[in-house]
Symmetry: C2
């Protein structure tokens, strides 16, 4: 795909860049951010993907997550993507009406229902169109399903917050069996790919957990049953915000680097 550079700023000895391109999967313009560590100037580096959640543009992660210092140190190329940026350009009727459907909440699925099915193909965009030789997705629920559904394609997968599957009939229709194609708990129950080493941090005192929109217990049970190694840390006092992500991102980049640089 042909990329147009939108911005480039030196940061932590490397470069933080933003690119724009026409996406064949999404049928519209797409923007993503990429951090190039200094090591990338002279050698091949592994790529880590961050899949931002509700209402985030590619700028949220650049600005607030504090990932560049550790990416620079471990020689990791860091790509961050958001559904919000791209879908804002589709001009679908009603796309801005709800906080959990449309532009603000594209999720990493391939929609099958009108009016979303032409553009809302973020799952294929991430796993096919932008896939680079050594990638390892992370973020929320979207990252986990990318790893669980693409056996052997990703070397490691972690994420910081668990969002309970709330896939709206709007994207996938009323048949609940189609929802399970994007349900990490269901996918984990039948996982038979290469060994994964999963690290999950979850803020204990966030709104989403207390309102039961997040159900880490179901997922942990599925991993245990399948004997998939998982470290789950329920972090006291933390919520679901970027302050939480900033607090643990160094641990997570180290976790990835162990496999990616092996």
């Amino acid at each position: 795909m042909a990329l147009t550079q939108v911005s480039s700023n030196k940061r932590c000895d490397g470069y933080q860049k933003v690119f724009e391109h026409d996406s064949s999967e999404l049928k519209c313009k797409m923007k993503f951010a990429i951090y190039l560590p200094p090591k990338a100037e002279s050698s091949k580096c592994p790529v880590l993907y961050s899949l931002s959640g509700l209402s985030c543009t590619e700028q949220n992660f650049i600005t607030k997550a504090g990932s560049q210092q550790a990416a620079s140190e471990h020689g990791i190329i860091y790509i961050n993507i958001s559904t919000f940026t791209v879908y804002s350009g589709c001009n679908i009727e009603g796309e801005d009406e709800s906080w959990d459907l449309g532009t603000g909440a594209g999720f990493y699925v391939n929609a099958t229902q009108e009016p979303w099915k032409t553009n809302y193909h973020m799952y294929s965009y991430v796993t096919e169109e932008v896939y680079v030789s050594l990638v390892t997705p992370w973020g929320g629920h979207g990252a986990l399903i990318c790893a669980l559904k693409n056996l052997g394609k990703y070397k490691a997968c972690i994420y910081l917050t668990l969002h309970r599957l709330k896939l709206f009939s709007g994207y996938l229709g009323p048949d609940k069996s189609t929802w399970e194609l994007y349900d990490a708990t269901v996918l984990a129950e039948s996982y038979s790919g290469p060994e994964l080493d999963i690290l999950i941090d979850q803020g204990r005192d966030g709104l989403f957990l207390s309102s039961s929109q997040l159900r880490p217990d179901n997922l942990i049970a599925a991993f245990s049953k399948q004997k998939i190694p998982v470290v789950f840390r329920l972090q006291q006092g933390y919520d679901h915000s970027y302050y939480f992500i900033f607090s643990f991102i160094i641990d997570h980049i180290k976790h990835h680097a162990k496999y990616l640089n092996a």
Copy 2:
């Protein structure tokens, strides 16, 4: 002063808080941010001040600078202040008309001219009203003049970017000798206080330096003449943005911690 807590979020094992209070120096409501490292729960910790520059609210530093990880590690309380937040509440005629005078650019001076002289006393606010037992200011030019003018009151002083003194006759009147009271180069030339150890990082490729609004050479000459130790690093490829600050903040917090925790 009586403080009202505006927000509190757990971050890097400590807490990022924002407080509001009525300021006697500024004659209006003031907001500042404070990061409390975990060590502060059980023991006394030194305080580091960050004085934000043009057009910044207290949120810019919280969100973009990435200071909390190192402050947590070294047990440093971090207060960040901005002139923009407070002066936005003064409702002075014409305050929003210019980017370099009024709300967007209060500077850390005590104004003597109308219409600014009632409220624009940020210099006294920082050095008197919010002064805590062990403080060490840093930021831009404002931080350096606080240290140079208050002999022995601050243990260390550093800053990341040099802004050439551009004190507008608007704040201090046409008599240029009054401007020198807030000119770091002039203050350095006559400095006779306790030994300072100054660390300066300057982005080489920023707009302000190339347009000669920043003149680090004059300041370095003054320090050299006075035999004040200074490390000046002109960083290739970096500008004047938060990406630059984020890139070197860990070095600067370490520099402070050496003195503050001694």
